[in-house]
C-alpha cells in the first residue's frame, strides 16, 4: 500500500511537521516504512491538493517542510472509508532472484547458486538485525504501552516474512545443488527424447513393467496367490524358519 493512509492515520490525533510524520511512520510501523523526503513531500502535497490535510500554522513559507499539517474532515472520512474496507488481498512477490535462477540455464546455474547463497546470508543478517530491534522494545512492566506492543507486532510481520525467505533460500540452495548433480532435461533442449538418458529410460521401462504387473494383480484373489517369480519353482523340502517369512520388513 502507499503511505497515504498511514500518514492520514498519524495525523488523526495530532498535527505535525512533515519530517515528524516520516519519523513517526518508521517508529510506529518499523523499518519497512522508511520513506525518503522526495516521496514524503510528494505525498503531503497530493494529500493537501485533495483537501485531505491542510496547513494550520498560518505562515506563508513557500516550502512544505516549514508548515504544520492537520487532517481535515474529508481526510477523516477518507481514513474511515479506507479502514472499513476489508483487508483480504494477499500479494505474491515477484522475486528477481527467482527469475535469474529460472532463466539461468545449465551453464549459469552455478552462478545462480552463488546468488542464492548471498541472498540467504542477507536474509539471515537482516533477520538478526530485526530480531535485535524487536527484542529491545520493552513490552512487560507495570505499565503496558500499546505503541510498543504494536511496533513489536509490526516487526514480527517482517521477521516472519524474512524467515520464510530464508527458508526458501535454503530450500533453493538444496534444490539447485541437487539439480546440478543430475542429468536433467532443459527446456532449451531441441528434442526432449534425445536428451533423456538411457538410464532414465531404463527406469521408466522398469517402472511401467513392475507397476503394470502390480495393477493387474488386483484382478486376482489374494488367497492362493504366489509371490511373483519368472519361472515355476521347485517346492523346498525344508520349511522356512519361523518368523522369517514376513515381507513386512
Amino acid at each position: 500500500m502507499s503511505a497515504k493512509h498511514a500518514l492520514l492515520g498519524l495525523l488523526l490525533n495530532r498535527s505535525a511537521y512533515p519530517y515528524e510524520l516520516a519519523d513517526r511512520l518508521q517508529a510506529r510501523l518499523g523499518p519497512a516504512w522508511a520513506i525518503n523526503s522526495g516521496q514524503l513531500y510528494q505525498t503531503i502535497s497530493r494529500l493537501a491538493q485533495e483537501g485531505l490535510i491542510e496547513q494550520v500554522d498560518g505562515r506563508s513559507e513557500p516550502r512544505d517542510d516549514r508548515h504544520v499539517f492537520a487532517i481535515t474532515d474529508s481526510g477523516r472520512a477518507e481514513f474511515e472509508r479506507w479502514f472499513e474496507d476489508e483487508t483480504k488481498e494477499t500479494r505474491l512477490s515477484r522475486r528477481p532472484l527467482l527469475v535469474k535462477i529460472t532463466l539461468a540455464g545449465p551453464d549459469r546455474l552455478r552462478d545462480a547458486l552463488k546468488q542464492i547463497d548471498v541472498y540467504e546470508l542477507d536474509c539471515a543478517r537482516r533477520l538478526t538485525e530485526l530480531s535485535q530491534t524487536q527484542e529491545a522494545i520493552p513490552v512487560g512492566g507495570p505499565q503496558v504501552r500499546a505503541d510498543h506492543v504494536l511496533l513489536r507486532l509490526s516487526l514480527s510481520a517482517d521477521i516472519f516474512q524474512l524467515e520464510g525467505e530464508l527458508r526458501w533460500a535454503r530450500h533453493a540452495h538444496e534444490m539447485i545443488s541437487w539439480l546440478l548433480q543430475r542429468e536433467a532435461i532443459w527446456p532449451s533442449a531441441p528434442e526432449r527424447a534425445d536428451a533423456q538418458s538411457e538410464k532414465a529410460r531404463d527406469r521408466q521401462d522398469a517402472r511401467e513393467e513392475l507397476f503394470g504387473r502390480m495393477a493387474a494383480r488386483h484382478l486376482l484373489p489374494v488367497d492362493g496367490q504366489q509371490v511373483p517369480v519368472d519361472e515355476p519353482h521347485e517346492p523346498a523340502k525344508r520349511s522356512p524358519r519361523p518368523g522369517s517369512g514376513d515381507t513386512a520388513s
Binding site: 530450500h171 538444496e174 534444490m175 541437487w178 531404463d202 527406469r203 522398469a206 517402472r207 511401467e208 513393467e209 513392475l210 507397476f211 503394470g212 504387473r213 502390480m214 495393477a215 494383480r217 488386483h218 489374494v222 488367497d223 496367490q225 504366489q226 509371490v227 511373483p228 517369480v229 519368472d230 519361472e231 519353482h233 521347485e234 517346492p235 523346498a236 522356512p240 524358519r241 522369517s244 517369512g245 514376513d246 515381507t247 513386512a248 520388513s249
Partner: protein
Amino acid sequence: MTLLLENISKRYPRAGGYKVALERVSLELERGQITGIFGPSGSGKTTLLRIAAGMQAPDSGRILYDGERLDEMSASERMRFRRRAIACIWAAQPWQERLSAIDHVALPLLVDRRDRRSAERRAREALLVCEAEQCACMELHELSDGERQRVAIARALVTEPRLLLADGPASSLSLVEQEGIMVLLSSLAREAKVAVLITDSDAEALLRADPILYLLDGKLVNPEPIGERGKLYSFPSARSRRAAVDA
C-alpha cells in the same frame, strides 16, 4: 475399497491403569490412493500401522480387506495373507548392515523359497524402479539415509503388494529426498493401484497424500479428510487441536 478399519480400539497396560493407544478409529484405504496420517509422537500412529498390517490384534473393532475379516483369521492365515498382500516400511527397522542392498531386497522372495536367480532379477528391477540400482552391490551400512529409504521401498515392492504401509518414510531426509520419495510413492499408488498408508509427525512430509488425517491421543480428530492440499495450511496447530479435544 481395499482395507477398512472399523472402530478400532487398543489400550496398553500401564502401572495403575491403561494407556489408550487408539480409540474407536475408523479408516478406509482405497486402491490408487495415498492416505496420510500425521500426529505428534505417541499419538498412536505406529499402533495403527501395526494393526492395519495384521501384526497386532486390536482390543475391539473389525479389519476388512476387500470384505474379508482379517481380525477373525488364525495367526498363520493372517501371516500368509500378509505375505501375499501387504508390505511395510518401518521407521526403525533392524537391518543386517553387512548384507548387500540387492540381497536385502531379494530376501522376502528367498525366504518364500523362490529361485535365487529370479529373486535377484526381481530385486534388481525393484531397485531400478526406486532409482537405487547404483546401490545394488553396496553394503547397507554404506548407504546414505535417502538411499536406505529407497532400498527399503524396493524391498517392500519386490513382493508386489496391494497395500503398502509406511511409518515416516520421508522423515529425517532432506527436502529434495523427501520430495523424491513422495513422488515415487504417489506414482506407485497411481500406476500400480496400490493402497498406500503413510504416517509422519510432520504434516508437510505428507503433502502429496490425499486424504490427510490427523491423529491425536489415539483419536482421529478430524474424521473428515482434509482433501484439498491447500487446506493443510489452514489446519489448526496441534495445540489448538488438543484444546478442542479436551473441550
